[in-house]
């Protein structure tokens, strides 16, 4: 666990504070009401649905984001590793609540910076302002391209788009790097439906499947399918 006076050197390693001078950063934080807290494994840093009024920067350890689905079952979304600001796209806006619960995977230390202090830092430093804007804009841009993908009207089109994108122009063999269930989650479809569409496309000679690999056997047909 980092000592309190060490936090600024850790902050400088995050996307948000990159490019700032360490001395300046320490000065800006003087007499500001931030908190540094330590969490044991399994403890909650934030609960899904709670108002998000502080920026949480993970200083050490790892945490996971966990969502509750409609039946109340919990669903792990992603692991996050220090040093990293968490959920920064949820600190502002009219519905600024944590979209997921954040739970320590190991002993973890985090800095809680009140929203007003974050505002103060952005007004002090064009570098922090630019970094923060880049962070949430990147998030919005990523989400926006993900929606374009998810609104392709058929599973076959989603598969074609995914394979053509993943293969680029060089290789015809794609290792999705996740299970069929994981891939189905990414596609927003049920696993059996994904499996059925893959088999159909294999039978039509567009692709072949073997031990977790998918090979494009007719790139032209995939392109046509996408353009139907």
């Amino acid at each position: 666990m980092p000592k309190s006076h060490e936090f600024s050197s850790i902050l400088l390693k995050t996307q948000l504070f990159r490019g700032v001078h360490e001395n300046e950063l320490s000065t800006w934080f003087e007499n500001k009401p931030y908190r540094i807290l330590t969490f044991e494994k399994g403890m909650f840093l934030a609960h899904s649905g709670e108002p998000c009024n502080e920026l949480i920067v993970l200083l050490s350890g790892t945490v996971m984001g966990e969502m509750h689905d409609f039946s109340g079952k919990s669903l792990k979304i992603e692991d996050m590793k220090a040093p990293k600001p968490l959920a920064s796209a949820f600190l502002f806006g009219s519905d600024n609540r944590f979209p997921v619960s954040i739970i320590a995977n190991s002993e973890a230390t985090a800095m809680f910076i009140p929203r007003d202090v974050v505002m103060y830092l952005m007004q002090k430093s064009p570098v922090i302002l630019r970094n923060f804007l880049n962070g949430i804009s990147n998030r919005a841009q990523f989400l926006s391209s993900r929606i374009r993908f998810l609104t392709l009207p058929t599973i076959r089109k989603k598969i074609a788009h995914f394979l053509l994108g993943a293969s680029g122009f060089c290789s015809d063999t794609i290792r999705p790097g996740q299970s069929l269930a994981g891939l189905a989650g990414y596609f927003g479809v049920a696993r059996p439906s994904l499996s059925r569409s893959l088999s159909e496309m294999e039978a039509e000679g567009m692709i072949s499947q073997k031990r977790g690999e998918i090979r494009i056997t007719d790139r032209e047909k995939l392109n046509k399918l996408l353009q139907e």
Copy 2:
């Protein structure tokens, strides 16, 4: 078309500049390299894929956002009405390109404010800073909840979620306010598949359909379906 010196009173009506004093705003814009341009109906304010280095604020008229799908067909996304900043979530970030083309629907006037000037305004004014952060954060939050919806694994679950959300606790009758094709686009599925799932759910007694209306006939079953 508004005269140049009138632009600041129009800007004050947008979410971005709301709460700023008009005199201050005029002063901040003095000697800054913004441009005010007029567009005839059908002219492009921006092309999809082009770098987005200026914030476009629509001062008068209406424009539409148009996307090109994979086959090159153009697809109207949304209409936007003055006064309004356009695509502000794409001004920063590492891939700051226009996600859609922006085309005038009528004669339109727009102000183009360079990114550096937008940064300058945010550092001058905590109000503008806060408004801008709220704007892009709201966008990211909207996109994020849209993705939660789109990644529900089956069309039936998407329908259940949509109907329960749209009906709230008061009414059992939902008028989707768009055609079946429009709804299918919103769901990211093909129209015939949506239609089939709706009929299935009608046969199972969960809903009934009549002249563009959907009525929830068994709320309990819909809840169960969502939690399966």
